[in-house]
């Protein structure tokens, strides 16, 4: 679900970057990037079975 929302948010950000105001595009980018990092941190809780 969160990935679907992120793809939608990036599509909207792209459209704003191409046709909308620049400050809004930059703000949307910042929000999406933070959401991406938060999603990664949420999914990065599995144990890493390293070989060294």
């Amino acid at each position: 679900m969160e990935f679907t929302a992120l793809f939608l948010a990036i599509t909207i950000t792209m459209l704003v970057a191409w046709r909308g105001p620049r400050p809004l595009a930059l703000s949307l980018f910042a929000v999406v990037l933070i959401a991406c990092v938060a999603t990664f941190m949420h999914h990065a809780t599995d144990t890493l079975k390293l070989s060294f």
């Binding site: 793809f7 990037l33 991406c36 990664f40 070989s51």
Partner: protein
């Protein structure tokens, strides 16, 4: 390097990113491999990487636009490194099929590192930020590139919705959630 040359490079970068997303779609639909959550996040970072070039094409090259792409590429490299490490154990067959002998997440890591290096190289040319673009309007070549990347990202939205439905995506997806009977 003039502003126009830099814009041409940004357009080519968009085509390269479109090729990456199209290849991922190819593996998904031709080989029938559904992307895992980390795979989806890597696609998301490739799409986010395209915002900088789109802004560069529309407003002319600016260091801040390249900074956006650098941030996206760094996060993308972290995500793909995580997936490489998950499958680093000897004997681990890895996730999904391979292309040129490498798994897609390994290729993604190489692509993100290449993007970081290329953006740093392009940033060396200060003249692009001084000279104004010859035309304020984007040409057909650039417009098609932007349209292509937006269409592929919207396609990924539809694909992720089909795959995950309205709940959390499966760790090892084998079927489209919204197509289950």
């Amino acid at each position: 390097m003039t502003s126009d040359r830099a814009i041409t490079l940004n357009v080519l970068a968009l085509y390269a990113l479109a090729a990456v997303l199209a290849t991922a779609f190819g593996a998904q639909f031709i080989l029938g491999e559904l992307p895992c959550p980390l795979c989806l996040l890597q696609r998301i970072m490739f799409a986010l990487l395209a915002i900088g070039p789109i802004l560069n094409i529309r407003y002319g090259p600016r260091p801040s636009h390249y900074a956006l792409s650098l941030l996206a590429a760094i996060v993308g490299a972290v995500v793909s490194t995580r997936q490489v490490l998950l499958h680093i154990m000897p004997g681990d067959a890895g996730y999904g099929s391979t292309l040129f002998g490498y798994h897609f997440y390994t290729l993604a890591l190489l692509a993100f590192i290449a993007a970081i290096a290329l953006i740093a190289l392009v940033l060396l040319f200060d003249w692009q930020f001084v000279t104004p673009p010859a035309s304020a309007k984007a040409g057909a070549f650039a417009t098609i590139a932007v349209g292509l990347i937006i269409t592929l990202t919207a396609g990924n939205f539809a694909s992720a919705l089909l795959e995950c439905g309205f709940k959390a995506c499966a760790d090892d997806p084998i079927a489209y959630e919204l197509m289950k009977r």
